[in-house]
């Protein structure tokens, strides 16, 4: 096999508060890359992500943990860590209509009946400020995930595009 990154599917929505990417995880790959392009938000919107189980239902239990670093261009950095979340949180961020955000997330073994780990790095412009982020997160319910549910954490709207690749 000469290739290492294979397109699986993409989904997008304009002025939406959520977006589903169904049936993107399977037994075919162990590692996946999710690229998120997130812009034109309303309010201070962080983007959260939940796993979808084999029936398409959201995994919304308090089984998500996070450790990360906010790397601000204009001020000191801040550690971000929390346990018992109900989603992978802070995976991208926009604040107003002129903002853009890019998130690049790797998912490890989401389709296995084991913990799902992710690593994420992102670049965000909110107003005139730039913030980089680097983080790890885990979902500990041992759900065999088949898809993703992306949503704004304050129910505000934004343009969201999500593209999933399998890593061979």
């Amino acid at each position: 096999m000469s290739v290492s990154l294979e397109f699986i599917k993409s989904a997008s929505g304009s002025s939406v508060s959520s977006l589903s990417v169904t049936n993107c995880f399977s037994a075919e790959y162990d590692v996946y890359q999710l690229q998120v392009n997130y812009n034109n938000g309303s309010g201070n919107n962080n983007l959260s992500i939940r796993l979808l189980d084999s029936g398409g239902s959201q995994v919304s239990t308090s089984t998500y943990d996070l450790a990360g670093l906010d790397m601000n261009s204009w001020t000191s950095f801040s550690e971000v860590r929390s346990t018992g979340n109900t989603a992978f949180i802070n995976t991208a961020q926009v604040a107003d209509s002129n903002d853009n955000s890019i998130g690049n997330t790797y998912f490890f073994n989401p389709n296995l009946a084991s913990y799902t780990f992710i690593t994420n790095q992102q670049a965000n412009v909110t107003s005139t400020d730039f913030r980089g982020r680097k983080m790890i997160q885990v979902e500990k319910s041992t759900t065999q995930a088949t898809g993703l549910y992306l949503f704004t954490n304050n129910s505000g709207t934004a343009n969201i595009k999500a593209t999933v690749y399998g890593v061979k």
Partner: protein, 219 residues
Amino acid sequence: MVDKSNEYGFVPSGPTQARGSNTGVFGVNDIVDLLNAEQWSGEFGSLELIETQSITSSTANMIFSNIKEDEYNVHFLTYSNYGCPVDNRRLVMRFFENGVEESGSVYQFGGSNNRTDGSFEAKSTSSSTLHLGVNGDTDANVHDNGYIYIYNAGDSSKYTFTTMHTTGMFQTTSKFGSIFLSGVLPQASVVDQIKLMSSTESDNIDSLTASLYGIKELS
């Protein structure tokens, strides 16, 4: 490559292949031939090499002048073996917008410089470049390596973002280091060239190999 399309009488027309959209019936030998030629569409991936460049003797910089920004929304750049002729220099990156190098103090970034002697914030709201590697020196063993994702280069309505992670030896062989950093050219414009150079522009690059890929989004 498929030259036997009419060999089998029951095949109504020659098979054709397109990215993710084959038509017709491929014979076993057709597939074997295409596989051997690395042209079988089932083997197409989304990571497509645009160009590899190498510097093996003192050179001012390295420019990728045809990044195919109209074909790819995401680029992936790897580099290795960055060697500088002067101590305390790092590899940095700049973009060209519609053929014009953006050398103003307009880039912003935030990242962490992680070394065996401590961690340090790397940040700027007004840089003329985007930092890539750690500050190296002229020792051949301390050459720097890393990867960078570049987003929205060809989208005139969006800023061009980067995320990267690199590793090398900081100034002396005794300090191992790594930088992960996110950055932006906060100007809605078409970026059509990428320049790699030393952090002091007048200093050349002694050695560097870099490959630029496009990440293809199939439909």
